[in-house]
Symmetry: C2
Subunit: 448 residues, 2 copies
């Protein structure tokens, strides 16, 4: 018997479908417009997708609006479009708005999951293991330097209390693997030694970030660290990453043998996606991240004899889903933190200036970690590759906001730092990498 059904008004199915299709149209138009403009100025297209997302999102046009920002159907231009066809009651309209928001959120999450799956497929596990020590050094330096410099600087220079300062320092440690990997792919640098070091370090950074977030969140809540939870996360991450690669390598011949015996259309893609979903679910369920699972699934399949075919079939899926992720990251970003007319923003912008410097210098410094045992590596490129905080930084900012320990000014400062590092990283990466791919990469026929 439906216990809570009385409390909820059902969404209108046609309304949800129209709203989602309209959202996809707007997202795709924005991604092409932004991407094409950036491509013409020799900038990475993903920067254009982020900026176009910002244009259609909560900051400017309100074409894409999300219920979790406290907005209602009235705030969404798209929902008003739906309303002009369907004449829904206000309650149904609101439920429809919430439902389309859930769907777009999920499609966007599938976008980054499939992006990391594709990145894993295009990676080279041998090469990734070969650069493992360098990647680890980069990750550790890239987490330690910004964290210490940020926390100590905020306490000594700006007299910020200890716990908020630790929170802000933690937010400085994040690296957005999605944005970095996408830019590397666009520059055809994913399979270069620099690309593999950045990728490995970004994966480790993601794991370190989750552990740090758990530490500071329990600090902010109880004033002390839950050791058990931290140990659980460290052990869980290690067992998950190492275990799934080992088990995956062991079982993948049987997996490919099974797929080779299947007769129905699309089986290779579907079976690969099942593996991706299994590892993504495990990643999310043990409180790591779904994208770590999908990346690992891609890595496992990258070693199989049918890697090439899987990649060909995943490519159009990535083309479908990935722009939704980047445009939504832009659309969710609230640029009003740059508005100096709001008092908290003025102090926030000063803090932001400091945080941005620490964020960039700290991560560029991490590039020296890549110097271990190899002298020809472009260390600057590695450091710059670690700069974007992206959606991971926004998660830290959101956790900080909701914990209540951050002042409005520090909150705004963190958001500004995340935005600037995210939007600056693609053009900076474009600058530090030479025009041509460093290593010969197989040139596929242009996939436009």
């Amino acid at each position: 018997m439906p216990i809570f059904a009385t409390a909820t008004v059902a969404a209108d199915p046609t309304g949800v479908l129209i709203a989602v299709l309209l959202s996809l149209m707007v997202i795709y138009l924005a991604s092409r417009l932004g991407g094409e403009i950036c491509a013409r100025f020799d900038l990475p297209p993903v920067l254009g997708e982020l900026l176009a997302g910002a244009l259609i999102g909560i900051s400017v046009l309100h074409l894409l609006a999300f219920p979790e920002h406290g907005l209602t159907a009235q705030d969404s231009l798209l929902m008003r479009g739906v309303q002009s066809f369907l004449h829904l009651t206000p309650e149904v309209q609101e439920a429809t708005f919430v439902a389309q928001g859930e769907v777009i959120n999920l499609l966007s999450e599938l976008g980054v999951i499939i992006l990391l799956f594709e990145i894993g497929l295009e990676s080279n596990l041998q090469e990734l293991l070969r650069v493992g020590i360098q990647a680890t050094l980069v990750a550790v330096v890239g987490v330690t330097v910004p964290f210490v410099a940020g926390t100590v600087g905020l306490i000594t220079l700006f007299h910020v209390p200890t716990i908020p300062a630790i929170f802000a320092g933690a937010a400085l440690t994040a690296t957005s693997i999605g944005i970095t990997a996408k830019v590397l792919a666009e520059l055809q640098q994913l399979s270069s030694p620099e690309g593999q070091v950045i990728l490995g370090a970004a994966v480790l950074d993601d794991v370190l970030g989750i552990i740090i977030l758990a530490v500071v969140a329990s600090l902010a809540k109880n004033g002390e660290v839950e050791i058990g939870r931290v140990v659980y996360l460290i052990v869980g991450a290690a067992v998950f990453l190492v275990g799934s690669v080992l088990i995956g390598r062991w079982l993948s011949p049987a997996f490919i043998g099974l797929v080779n015996n299947m007769k129905t259309r699309g089986s290779l893609l579907i079976m690969s996606l099942i593996l991706m979903a299994v590892l993504a679910v495990i990643g999310a369920a043990i409180q790591l991240e779904a994208i770590l699972g999908s990346f690992t699934a891609g890595l496992i399949l990258s070693e199989t004899e049918r890697q090439q075919e899987i990649e060909e079939r995943v490519l159009p899926l990535a083309d479908f889903f990935v722009p939704i992720f980047f445009v939504c990251v832009g659309a969710r970003t609230d640029f009003s933190v740059f508005n100096p007319a709001i008092p908290a923003n003025r102090e926030g912008l000063v803090l932001a200036a400091f945080l941005v410097v620490v964020a960039i210098v700290g991560k560029v410094t991490s590039g020296i970690g890549a110097g271990w045992g190899e002298t020809k590596l472009n260390r600057l490129a590695v450091g710059v590759g670690m700069i974007p905080r992206g959606e991971v930084g926004l998660v830290f900012a959101a956790a900080g906001s909701s914990s209540g320990v951050l002042s409005d000014a520090l909150d705004a400062g963190i958001v500004v730092m995340v935005i600037l590092t995210t939007f600056l990283a693609p053009p900076l990466l474009r600058l530090v990498f030479p025009n041509q791919p460093a290593t010969p990469v197989p040139t596929p026929e242009p996939h436009v």
Copy 2:
């Protein structure tokens, strides 16, 4: 300001993600299992997908359960799995269940939209127009015969009152373009003359079905027909189908020219999907169907010079989305109507026997319409192709249930008729078509 936010508990984002990924895993495993078993018995794989969907759905395993069937999170095995990881409060759990249901519904709708887009792309507009008169005759006969025979038979033989009898007669007129088109594609018969006649007739049937549904719904509500609405639907459908093909043919060179000038990855696919979304939204907004829009978009693009490339990129998308649709159609079907222990079902099964005979004989009869001007056409195959009621029939059944004019027995009888015609049509089609494709079709490399 969020007006209704107080009434709604927000879903847990990680919970929704895990639930959706688990649902996709279950859907894909079911689709492969069912498809592969059917392929081995030389049956159409889509039958296996429908049956496997029924196995995991509301009738048997409850792995996939949908909130709109009055089920709660407790009824869904998957949600219990999510719960074991996340320990959500009952309210959040329920909201998460509803949200994942919205997402799966939407993915399933995207599945049939993309299926019809692919079918349109693989069709031949010239051939479709050439068989236009035959297709129209098939559609008209296939709507008139079952409607008249069903309505009159129920009134005279079973003493059913007039309005419910008209409703049941109307439900007999539907044809599921999705199921028929998928089976034809599997048999490589889409581009045969029979395939094109069936496809054209099924499109017209879909339009006729929408008009009939509007007529009987207003009859059931007010006891009279809203002439204005019927005229609107007829004119709207004609203007939409003819207009979008004409405008599309006129504008498609400019469209392809634009795409040829784009530099970012995935632009051909994305721009094609934008066109698909535009026409699907218009179709849904003028109260026709989104699938008519996506089919038309496919038809328009099928005439362009880049048809082949678009099709290659749409194929993996269809492989991703289409199984979700068929498995969900199976999962939503409530087989408890076959249970004779429920009193209304016993009378319903008697009515169902009558309805099934009318449903099959009426549609097979429509094949004679295909005889016009062409003698070599396999008329039996055309008639059999029109048999499956599928999701369109379920829409009629649902409209009947909610109108309150149907007795429980008649309601159950209609559902049984829809199920049997849907599940019988794929093996019957397999029987009436020869083993080899009738016309030479381009044999693509096996896409497994």
